[in-house]
């Protein structure tokens, strides 16, 4: 499946009547069917959003009525959010750490990935499919098999509790993701424009920089979003490499929220922190949903 096909279908999504597949049926049945379709869609909607909604609602309750089961917080309170940022948990710092680690990982993976994808999609060389296969195979490597040996290496290097101890292992999943996505995108761009540019006297490098790269910009952007989301959600590497609360990322920080008393888990604060970590991603998903779907399906749905 190519991106353009998907885009075309999405654009014309209103018209092609796949529902016309049931045209032969009697009219009564058809209305029943259309109702059942809407019921199904409502169920999907509730299934996807209800747990997330519950997290938001719970985060807006006061500690005293955290165990209420009303659908709206009564009374509405930002108490939990204030507590998350009151400085006792370094949660603000953890958010900043997540931002730094995810951004650097994304930029590094994109820079390396653009060059690699250009080579794979545009140049002719031996072992091309072997190299692409190896890069994709590395994305299947289990995280723990990276963490155990590198934990040891980084301990020897004195890198525990540093950003690079998270960023470098993150590349083990970010690079295959970036190379694969970018290769798929670049393969779909026409060769003609670059060749025309080179006939007009551009060098290969100029053709790449001035013609191909601007054309590939949407693909690069999509890849950036996906890589960023994956790095932002990364857990096992950050959990293993970091034990200093000042360096740990947000996902690890909220899993370690213990609260004032040891025996009562501060669920309200946990939910508030969870909402804060998730909201940037949800906004990205809502704004760039079409691009994200393109990126996710580009690899699998050829």
């Amino acid at each position: 499946m190519t991106i353009t096909d998907l885009r075309g279908l999405a654009a014309s999504g209103e018209s092609p009547g796949r529902a016309s597949g049931v045209d032969v049926r009697p009219k009564q049945k058809r209305t029943w069917r259309s109702y059942s379709v809407y019921l199904g869609l409502a169920l999907i909607f509730i299934y996807c959003l209800a747990p997330f909604y519950w997290m938001i609602v719970s985060s807006l309750r006061r500690t005293a009525d955290i165990f209420d089961n009303t659908l709206l917080p009564q009374p509405f309170s930002l108490e939990n959010y204030a507590k998350v940022f009151d400085g006792s948990t370094m949660f603000g710092q953890a958010l900043l750490n997540s931002l730094i680690v995810a951004s650097v990982t994304t930029v590094a993976a994109l820079v390396l990935g653009i060059f690699a994808a250009y080579a794979i999609s545009r140049l002719n060389f031996r072992f091309k499919s072997v190299i692409l296969g190896v890069i994709i195979a590395t994305s299947m490597f289990p995280g723990i098999s990276v963490v155990v040996p590198l934990l040891r290496l980084f301990t020897d290097l004195g890198w525990i509790n540093t950003y690079q101890a998270m960023i470098i292992p993150n590349l083990s999943f970010a690079i295959p993701l970036a190379v694969w996505n970018l290769t798929t995108f670049m393969k779909q761009l026409p060769f003609d424009l670059e060749e025309a540019a080179m006939i007009d006297g551009c060098t290969k490098w100029q053709a790449f920089r001035k013609v191909l790269l601007p054309l590939a910009a949407p693909g690069v952007f999509t890849t950036a979003i996906l890589t960023f989301i994956h790095s932002w959600n990364e857990f096992i590497i950050a959990l293993s490499m970091i034990n200093d609360p000042a360096i740990q990322t947000a996902t690890v920080a909220i899993s370690k929220f213990t609260g004032a008393t040891e025996f009562q888990a501060p669920f309200g604060e946990q939910m508030a922190a969870g909402v804060i970590v998730t909201v940037p991603l949800v906004i990205m998903v809502l704004v760039f949903q079409r691009r994200i779907v393109e990126g996710l399906t580009a690899g699998a749905g050829k």
């Binding site: 499946m1 190519t2 597949g21 165990f67 995280g143 991603l281 949800v282 079409r290």
Partner: protein, 348 residues
């Protein structure tokens, strides 16, 4: 491959001229169809990527295999770091996997990993297919649905673990809704169920999205023809939709399985580390390395790697999952070659 050929049909015309020109340029180059400069440039462009992958993939793999043959003999030094007291023990770390107390823990973790992988991927596939079928029939509000289906995917796994831990509290909303008093997050079968529910919630929409993309490239004419031949909805599903989305579905299931095999965050946050009923291989290896038993931790990591690799090989070799798009590339190459031969004949 059926979808590939459909894909070629739909996007064929604009591509052909470019390919034709490329083919003629290639044949004008060296005898092998490539210029020497291109190979050097490719090596230059690929080497940084391969270098980083060597550091973060090849080195850990070799180091883990090496490490798994050693065992720490002494303990910790004053600072809490490992002391240089390791002895070569051959395959003893692997032999321990099948005997004694650590063997029991390993077999349990291996069983849990397999159980979670099979159950979650099976449920996700069924649910994902249902989601895709429902979304494929919906035309109004499809983009709205697509956005909401992406929300579980975007929630970080650690946050989703926390969220479900809250839902599954002993006096939480899950027990209130079904009127029970189950201890979901303690040891036992209920905790396994909690992990499965949370995992399926997060990942079924993802499969649904991929399968939907596969469904959307099936041309409408195929359904029209089936309808004229009198095929009902179920018949269309079984004879058209499922066979045609199979390649997409295979790749999606493969990726989900590889992901499920290395499951760590969700049981770790939802139930907690060191709980027998939900401990996976990743959690066991992590716990061992946390105890500074790098030898056995590496052995677990190597076993998990072999397990993942075996599943991937079965999918690619036996079931024919087209992961790299190599089949499609092959088809293109053949088409290009045919094009070239045709051209040569025409000039003669």
């Amino acid at each position: 491959m059926t979808t590939a050929s459909i894909d070629h049909q739909s996007s064929g015309p604009p591509r052909t001229p470019g390919q034709g020109r490329k083919a003629s340029r290639n044949s004008a180059g060296s005898s092998a169809g490539r210029t020497p400069g291109e190979g050097r440039m490719a090596a230059l462009l690929l080497s940084p990527t391969l270098l980083v992958l060597a550091l973060v993939i090849a080195y850990p793999l070799i180091s883990a295999i090496h490490q798994s043959l050693y065992r720490a003999q002494s303990g910790l030094d004053a600072d809490g770091y490992v002391t240089e007291g390791e002895a070569f023990v051959g395959l003893a770390n692997y032999a321990d996997l099948f005997a004694g107390e650590s063997g029991h823990r390993f077999m349990n973790a291996f069983g849990n990993t397999t159980f979670f992988t099979v159950t979650t991927v099976l449920l996700e596939t069924l649910l994902g297919l249902a989601l895709a079928l429902a979304m494929n029939r919906a035309f109004k509000g499809r983009s709205f649905l697509r956005a909401s289906i992406l929300v579980p995917w975007a929630v970080p796994t650690a946050v989703s673990g926390l969220l479900w831990r809250w839902i599954f509290q002993s006096d939480g909303i899950a027990n209130t809704l079904i009127g029970s008093e189950i201890l979901w997050t303690a040891e036992g079968t209920a905790s396994k169920l909690a992990v499965i529910i949370a995992e399926v919630w997060k990942t079924a929409p993802f499969i649904g999205l991929l399968v939907l993309a596969g469904m959307q490239i099936i041309p409408e004419e195929v359904y029209e023809a089936a309808k004229i031949d009198g095929a009902g909805w179920w018949r269309q599903l079984g004879s058209i939709t499922l066979p045609l989305v199979k390649p997409t579905l295979l790749v999606a299931v493969l990726f989900r399985m590889l992901d499920a095999l290395r499951m760590f965050d969700l049981p770790f946050v939802l139930i907690g580390p060191g709980k027998e009923s939900v401990e996976t291989l990743s959690m066991l290896a992590w716990d061992e390395s946390n105890q500074l038993r790098y030898g056995s931790a590496s052995a677990f990591a190597v076993i998990l790697f072999l397990y993942v690799a075996a599943v991937a090989i079965v999918f690619v070799k036996v079931l024919g999952a087209d992961v790299t798009g190599a089949k499609q590339l092959g088809a293109k190459r053949r088409a290009r070659k045919a094009n070239r031969i045709q051209k040569a004949e025409a000039t003669q």
